[in-house]
């Protein structure tokens, strides 16, 4: 008895890494080092907010990146409704998951910033209120994606919700302006604070660091989602194969 060794068509590693992710990962290391160096060490404390201004170098880039991920979810949802693309369905879900995590951290770091600055962790300010709502809405989106139903039907329904949910992104982004135009009172604005060169650099590095991190994470997380999808598919195929074999065996004069 000889076992025939089939050479693999191409070598696919038993993890989600690749040259692309290694390159992105290198960029993450470099940008994060620079960002943390500037944000936490080299840049000066703020005149008004003191050291807590440093939270913004983390908070603002994550907030912007969460809007980016929800935009990917929007695009993915539109593509799913147009042509039932599996890639975009998975991508929309993956992006929303990362976006919800980012948004949760945005709210948490905002609360930590609010305590020393406003004297309270939570303020019923339009931006905070709409951000909390957006978090809950996208949490609902993630729940829809996990419903136990036909994958094609679920993908379409999630896509509809992914499109409807997006209204929260501009609503949150412009909430301060919308509410300010309604109420005449002014709220504390971030742009009031004077920013010097090192602070601006810290912001820019924070954006760069979070953007490269998001790209790296999206690739890995998408590959995991693809693996999960492949598992479901192969599980289904095996089920059908077993049924066929069973049917053939039960047939009179069938294969024994």
């Amino acid at each position: 008895m000889t076992t025939v060794e089939m050479p693999p068509a191409r070598s696919v590693p038993e993890h989600t890494g690749s040259r692309l992710t290694r390159a992105l990962g290198g960029a993450v290391l470099v940008t994060w080092t620079l960002w943390l160096l500037w944000g936490l060490v080299l840049s000066p404390a703020d005149v008004v907010q003191h050291e807590s201004v440093r939270l913004f170098y983390l908070h603002v880039p994550m907030a912007i990146m969460s809007s980016v991920t929800f935009s990917i979810t929007l695009i993915g949802s539109i593509m799913v409704l147009r042509n039932g693309s599996v890639f975009w369905d998975l991508m929309a879900g993956v992006a929303a998951e990362i976006g919800v995590m980012f948004l949760g951290l945005v709210i948490a770091t905002g609360a930590v910033w609010g305590k020393p600055t406003w004297g309270t962790y939570w303020e019923w300010d339009p931006r905070l209120t709409t951000a909390a709502l957006m978090f809950l809405v996208y949490l609902g989106y993630l729940v829809i994606r996990r419903l136990d139903m036909d994958p094609v039907v679920r993908a379409r329904r999630a896509a509809v919700f992914g499109i409807v949910a997006f209204i929260n992104v501009p609503l949150t982004r412009f909430s301060v302006q919308i509410w300010n135009s309604l109420h005449q009172e002014t709220t504390i604005s971030l742009t009031d604070t004077q920013m010097d060169g090192a602070q601006l650099t810290s912001y820019a590095l924070g954006m760069l660091a979070m953007a490269t991190f998001l790209a790296w994470l999206l690739v890995h997380r998408f590959r995991v989602a693809w693996l999960e999808h492949a598992m479901d598919e192969s599980g289904l195929e095996k089920l059908i194969r077993d049924r066929r074999a069973e049917g053939a065996a039960n047939e009179p004069g069938g294969v024994r």
């Binding site: 191409r10 696919v12 050291e51 890995h220 598919e233």
Partner: protein, 45 residues
């Protein structure tokens, strides 16, 4: 007293992001092992 808040903020983010990254990478390894090579990737590298 302000440094405490800064450390808390960055600490929360580090823990959450770190946990998510580790669990994503580990899940990727576990699932990859259970699938044939040609099923593992959406695209060639």
């Amino acid at each position: 007293m302000f440094w405490g808040y800064v450390i808390a903020g960055y600490g929360i983010a580090a823990v959450v992001l770190g946990t998510y990254v580790v669990s994503t990478l580990r899940r990727g390894r576990t699932l990859s092992r259970q699938l044939d090579p040609e099923q593992r990737r959406f695209l060639d590298d």
